[in-house]
Symmetry: D2
Subunit: 245 residues, 4 copies
């Protein structure tokens, strides 16, 4: 394969991030950002050994300097690759607790791990590269944010997570309205349900197919990415057929 | 091509409906419903002559008997084809007028052409066939409704159209919650912008690519249809990159 | 009391409608519309004997002629009273049933009893009188629609009711955007929970105060009505403290 | 007047906060929190000299220690007064700027001044007092958050403000769902338009009454506060009649 450009995925573990990386690696070189190298190393190897091109960069997306270093490294290693897609899939900030037991740090982490630091740093470093890629990217340069049920519903004991996810959606929507007319496709995916990843394998649910398939989420992100600019989707809600909503 | 099943498209003119028909005809036999045969005849010929299989049935989807006849005819002509997809794309009911000048008939038509008659009759006849197709359809049997900006926003002078489109979305959402757990994929697409069809060809807009591409809308419907039941999207908003929203 | 104007309430039974009538009767003459005189007769008597002024008119709000007769009668009886408030509180259309068992008539009634006939006729006859009352009404002339949970959520087995309530909300929102700038206050109240009325008296719930108080709903409508035009609320959601939402 | 309890207002300048304070001072002792004493001193004097009871505490609501000190002072000065209402009306975080020119500090301030610090600290200190006041407060203890158009819509160049306001709404909604069933009334008011305050006095608009009246906003907060627990409103949108929305 000759890479047609670059895709950066922030937040790569054994689940959705990995599936997104595999999907986008079919056309692009992929850069995987995660705090711990153990999160991306097997995947980097897998993609490279199956004809793709991947690198991992140990990054704390909630740290401005760490994000800066990562993007400096990306520009150094791929000076001529247009950034076709930048995917914000960072986890973190999830805590379920009575509000009065929530610590300042827990609530802050809910916001920092999503909009306030991670999402903001990632978007600010991605957008200049996406703008530069408008002529050369095979599809409109795309910035996708991963949301959750808590992106549109605040629930009891979910104040920290919902605040972070609401704020991330505000960021996504503001960016879609500012950069859409400039030719950048900004999207927000609401993942509503349990994802079928190693950590949830042992959760037995009363119906089969009751967990979201990470590969199908990745297919949805790919679909969003390949939309032409005449027909951009901003928001998509994904859930198992059996999910109550 | 060997047809893998059946797709019914209600509301086929020279625009979105035709693109949807062409897209679904790549895998399925397609049935085109429209009041006037002149709306589907060229398309039927085009699809049949390029290796697909299409028929058209002159149908008034706002008329219970006409819908009944159409479905009776479909079951007669395709006794063994699973209904893989049923697309409600019927137009009608659009009127922009000061509320106090709106006639009873105009307001009624806004609702009848969408939820009250057309959407209701189409869904009631489609769902039993979709349920029957669960084992044999190559993808989860799918029922898609075409919405508009007015599906989620009531505007001055748009009372008739918004009422019809809100009600159609209520129908779609109610059906998604009832039939999703039974394995039927019910979706609602919000088309937010001007579609690039013969009627709007002469509308010159200040930016290129400023109209929605009917083929891309069709690709989105196909994407919805091919989602596995682990990962159903209910709602999707589609608009040109340049659209204000 | 000297009446300062007129309030019309469509949909008056022993519950919310009666409370609204009592509340508005403190300042206005009230006209109660209901199909059956038994619904308004005791209330008319109660209001008149306690110093207020009330009349009832037997009206089928889903019937154009019946609504026309009612308004003709109102204008005849109160030729000089400005219409200060018009409240659409008509019930009807509620049915909970698997979608495939829903009859054409049941689904139609869901829409006719709300937006398609009743809401439309009531709004078309009220608005000219409200516009005429702008100078003389003590508060900005007001048109309020009663909504429900189903106004913003379509649920399994609720297709008929949700379609009607969604459409009524579309009507309310369209009218708010058209007539607000003309000085008419159009509002929509989402009643989310069980109302404490004679019919629900015997429903014993696990918490006290778990049902909506009709008098408090009426207070909310009054509050909406008395807002100055600098500060109009369009939408309000009302529910018991214990309600899950 | 004998004070029936306490109301705390965070964010008191010459506009909405002052009107809220005056309104709640008719029944309660009021505590005004603002960074600069010049913001509350004239108001404290005005309320005290007209028969009410008010104190001001110089507080930086984005600073945990400052909020702690303020509440310690409140409990010291009013040991026996039930906290009937706590109003979060803090401004800050508003910035309108192309996203790529937004500094880390500006974006953080958008969140810190609303949900992440100010809203969180204020809610965490208020709620235990509100819970304690359930028996003795004349109306259900109430926590109200002031929102804006940006609470539900992210717009170009508004990423910082929208992120903060979305997150604040998430916080409000999560708290409403957690503490509502415990008898605390949590509400969120969406202020959609220009408020008529000293700073906007010179803004001449094409229509009269085109700015929100702070006194009417205060009346709305009072109305929310006096709702019984059978009939709580969570959300209210307030705008001038002439506002486009």
């Amino acid at each position: 394969m000759t890479s047609k450009g670059l895709a950066i995925i922030a937040g790569v573990g054994p689940g959705t991030g990995a599936s997104i990386a595999r999907r986008f690696a079919k056309l692009y070189s992929v850069v995987l950002l995660s705090r711990s190298p153990s999160n991306f190393e097997p995947l980097v190897q897998e993609i490279n050994s199956s004809g793709g091109k991947a690198i991992g960069i140990s990054t704390d997306v909630s740290d401005a300097n760490s994000v800066k270093s990562a993007f400096d490294e990306i520009e150094k290693q791929f000076p001529d690759s247009p950034l076709a897609a930048s995917i914000f899939n960072a986890a973190g900030g999830f805590v379920r607790k009575p509000f009065l037991e929530l610590t300042d740090e827990e609530y802050s982490t809910g916001l920092d791990s999503q909009a306030r630091k991670a999402g903001f740093y990632f978007a600010q470093r991605s957008l200049p590269l996406l703008l530069k890629a408008r002529e050369s990217s095979p599809h409109p340069p795309t910035l996708i944010f991963t949301g959750a049920t808590a992106s549109i519903k605040g629930s009891a004991q979910f104040a920290a997570f919902a605040s972070g996810k609401f704020a991330l959606r505000a960021l996504a929507q503001s960016l879609a309205r500012e950069f859409g007319p400039q030719g950048i496709h900004v999207s927000h995916a609401i993942i509503d349900g349990i994802i079928d990843i190693p950590r949830t394998k042992q959760w037995v649910l009363p119906h089969e197919d009751a967990k979201l398939s990470p590969d199908s989420i990745a297919d949805s992100y790919w679909y969003l990415h390949t939309q032409p600019r005449t027909t951009f989707a901003f928001e998509l809600d994904l859930r198992p057929y059996i999910e109550k909503w």
